[in-house]
């Protein structure tokens, strides 16, 4: 629309929005799907045999720009070693009043011991509570982050604890894109790499969910993915929601 009728453009737009579904969610009850690379609270991973990955090298503490990590290593007790190799992380503390979730510790770690989950909802009533120790950080025997009593979890939120790490190719070299350079995790095994830009994305394997796909109705028509456009898009969306025995993909 152009010319003097342009005045009514705003009225038209706001009226159209009456019929559109809201973009916002009722937050504590519903949560938005998070990006796989979201930086949340840390976990200390374990090998598939249950050994801890941390070797107490303090590289994470050295890389930390805000000095929120405190690590002390100790020689493994010979009769019951905590980690394979010489040393293990005896003390591991992260102060979440300081942490900025930059993930530099994840990049610095030589054994992929420390990664970040997608959980970001912290609340403390006490400064001492903000310091997470090994008791909170090390994954449980199933390989999932420990469910701390004050944390509000939803399905799938505790998965994908190393999205950012798996997105990074070794040395930033594009020819290593999609090459696994990390060890297996307890409970999860060797996790799939995030598909790079040069290959076809396998979003299901890596747990990638595009917000653009989830909220396609609020996009400009040109930004909507091709398979979600028009009548065909409506059909495919409906098919996704249907159970499998009716021909749905779920």
């Amino acid at each position: 629309m152009a010319g003097p009728l342009n005045f009514f453009g705003g009225f038209k737009l706001t009226f159209q929005h009456l019929a559109r579904p809201p973009v916002t969610l009722s937050y504590p009850e519903e949560k938005r799907p998070k990006q796989p690379r979201q930086h949340g609270r840390h976990v200390l991973n374990r090998y598939e045999d249950g050994m801890e990955k941390c070797i107490g090298c303090e590289l994470c503490a050295g890389a930390c720009p805000v000095n929120c990590i405190y690590v002390r290593g100790l020689d493994n007790p010979p009769d019951h070693p905590v980690s394979p190799g010489e040393r293990y992380g005896y003390v591991y503390e992260i102060n979440y009043l300081r942490c900025i979730h930059c993930d530099l510790c994840v990049e610095a770690c030589p054994t992929q011991a420390i990664t970040e989950t997608k959980m970001f909802e912290f609340s403390f009533t006490n400064r001492a509570d903000a310091i997470y120790t090994k008791a909170e950080l090390v994954v449980d025997d199933e390989g999932f982050p420990k469910h701390l009593p004050w944390e509000d979890w939803r399905d799938g939120e505790a998965e994908m604890t190393g999205g950012w790490m798996r997105a990074t190719s070794p040395s930033g070299d594009a020819s290593y894109e999609g090459v696994v350079q990390w060890t297996g995790d307890l409970g999860n095994g060797v996790r799939a790499p995030e598909a790079g830009q040069s290959t076809n994305r396998d979003d299901d394997a890596t747990g990638s969910k595009q917000l653009r796909r989830a909220f396609f109705r609020h996009l400009q028509p040109i930004d909507v993915n091709e398979d979600q456009r028009g009548l065909q898009g409506m059909l495919s969306e409906a098919r996704k929601k249907m159970p499998k025995r009716f021909g749905g993909s779920r």
Binding site: F11, T14, F15, H17, L18, P21, V23, T24
Partner: protein
């Protein structure tokens, strides 16, 4: 017809049934007041819900179904908050101002005819709290008083932003009152009476009988703009321009006094929607189905429906239109609306006398508008031309020797 308009039939038989008449009046007042209060509660909820839908948000949802009790929760919260009075304030005026804003909003609604007539205990009862002979003038009087509420609130706060806001409010309301008054004069000319009841009954049952069509659409548009500016609602909300003036005149208010201002604003919105419906859209006029009972309900339904549409339009304005600059508000009021409403009134007056006069008047108004338009253009070019460039801030307004003499005198 009485020159002062229709007299309320409730008092037609004198005062023989004092008790019953008084009781009926009291019930009318109570029901009217209760309905208005209830509709204010709903209006606040409706505004928040509708505007959040327009902005693709969820809006209030916690209290009651669809968050309909949100206003109640807000009211309780405000009631229990600390009531602060700034140290710099004029305490009496500061406490008085919210009532000056609220009471006119309630009183104006008294002259709005909500429905037709009822027969109760042998009395003919108009569904309208009062039908005073001066009728619609009450609207102008009350909107004049409600300026005091805003103005005194800003002044008494002893703070600069509320003061600026109150200055803006008084200037804006005075500017638009002229256009408002002239448009009302147009309606009164056609009706021949000031009474709101007569204004409604003089408009027929169908839309082509209503004043909005009968007077040409122009007076309605002018009236709507002017009344929006009177309300200080978007896009004319320079009075409480949040980005410039914190919260406007009510910045320093808290607790129940703030709630009163808030309530007054929304009550005014409803009342003015009702006034628009009364003056231009036939009030409770509308199609009544041929049923034997409860025929009096349908006019009320029509009235509520029309009023709701206008309330929705105010919400729609708020969502769709950006705020005017202060000079644009003044420009629209003085340069556009007042001449336009005046010219249209003259044309209508001419046609009422004789069509020939009307055409003559139309020609005169056309000529005047050409002259006026030329004058505006000249004025604007002078504003933006070479003459308008002022010299940079130069010497002090007072000569140095005067200043020196003053300072010398202080030393003595």
């Amino acid at each position: 017809m009485n020159t002062l308009g229709t007299v309320d039939p409730l008092f037609a038989h004198g005062v023989d049934g004092w008790g019953v008449v008084l009781l009926i009046v009291a019930i009318k007042v109570l029901v009217g007041f209760g309905a208005l209060m209830g509709s204010v509660t709903l209006m606040i909820w409706f505004e928040r819900k509708a505007i959040s839908d327009m902005q693709s948000r969820i809006g209030p949802q916690r209290w009651g179904p669809f968050g309909i009790l949100q206003t109640l929760a807000d009211g309780i919260k405000l009631f229990f908050k600390e009531d602060l009075i700034p140290a710099e304030s004029d305490r009496f005026v500061f406490k008085l101002a919210p009532y000056l804003a609220l009471v006119p909003a309630v009183i104006t609604f008294a002259v709005v005819p909500v429905g037709g007539t009822l027969h109760i205990a042998g009395h003919v009862v108009m569904l309208q709290i009062a039908n005073p002979p001066m009728g619609i003038l009450l609207l102008l009087a009350m909107s004049g008083i409600s300026v005091y509420g805003v103005m005194l609130a800003g002044w008494a706060s002893g703070s600069k932003y509320p003061l600026i806001s109150s200055v803006r409010a008084s200037a804006q309301m005075i500017s638009y009152e002229a256009a408002l008054g002239i448009t009302i004069v147009t309606i009164v000319l056609v009706t021949g009476s000031l009474s709101t009841h007569d204004i409604v009954t003089s408009q027929g049952h169908w839309i082509w009988h209503w004043n909005v069509i009968r007077l040409g659409v122009v007076p309605f548009v002018i009236f709507w703009m002017a009344i929006t500016a009177e309300l200080g609602r978007p896009p004319f909300d320079v009075v409480e321009a949040d980005s410039e003036l914190v919260g406007g005149f009510n910045t320093e208010y808290s607790s129940i006094r703030f709630a009163l201002f808030y309530m007054a604003e929304f009550m005014n919105t409803i009342t003015m929607s009702a006034i628009i419906v009364t003056l231009f859209f036939g009030g409770p006029a509308g199609w009544v189905p041929p049923v034997s009972h409860l025929r009096w309900v349908f006019p009320i339904v029509w009235f509520v429906l029309k009023t709701t549409i206008f309330c929705f339009c105010y919400i729609w304005f708020r969502a769709a239109l950006p705020r005017f600059r202060y000079d644009q508000v003044m420009d629209l009021g003085w340069k556009r609306l007042i001449p336009l409403s005046l010219g249209w009134m003259l044309i209508v007056a001419g046609f009422l006398l004789r069509p020939a006069y009307g055409f003559i008047m139309a020609a005169v108004v056309m000529l005047a508008s050409v002259v006026l338009g030329r004058a505006f253009i000249l004025g604007q070019t002078r504003e933006t031309g070479a003459d308008s460039i002022l010299p940079p801030v130069g010497p002090r307004p007072l000569p140095p020797e005067v200043l020196r003499s003053w300072s010398d005198r202080e030393e003595e």
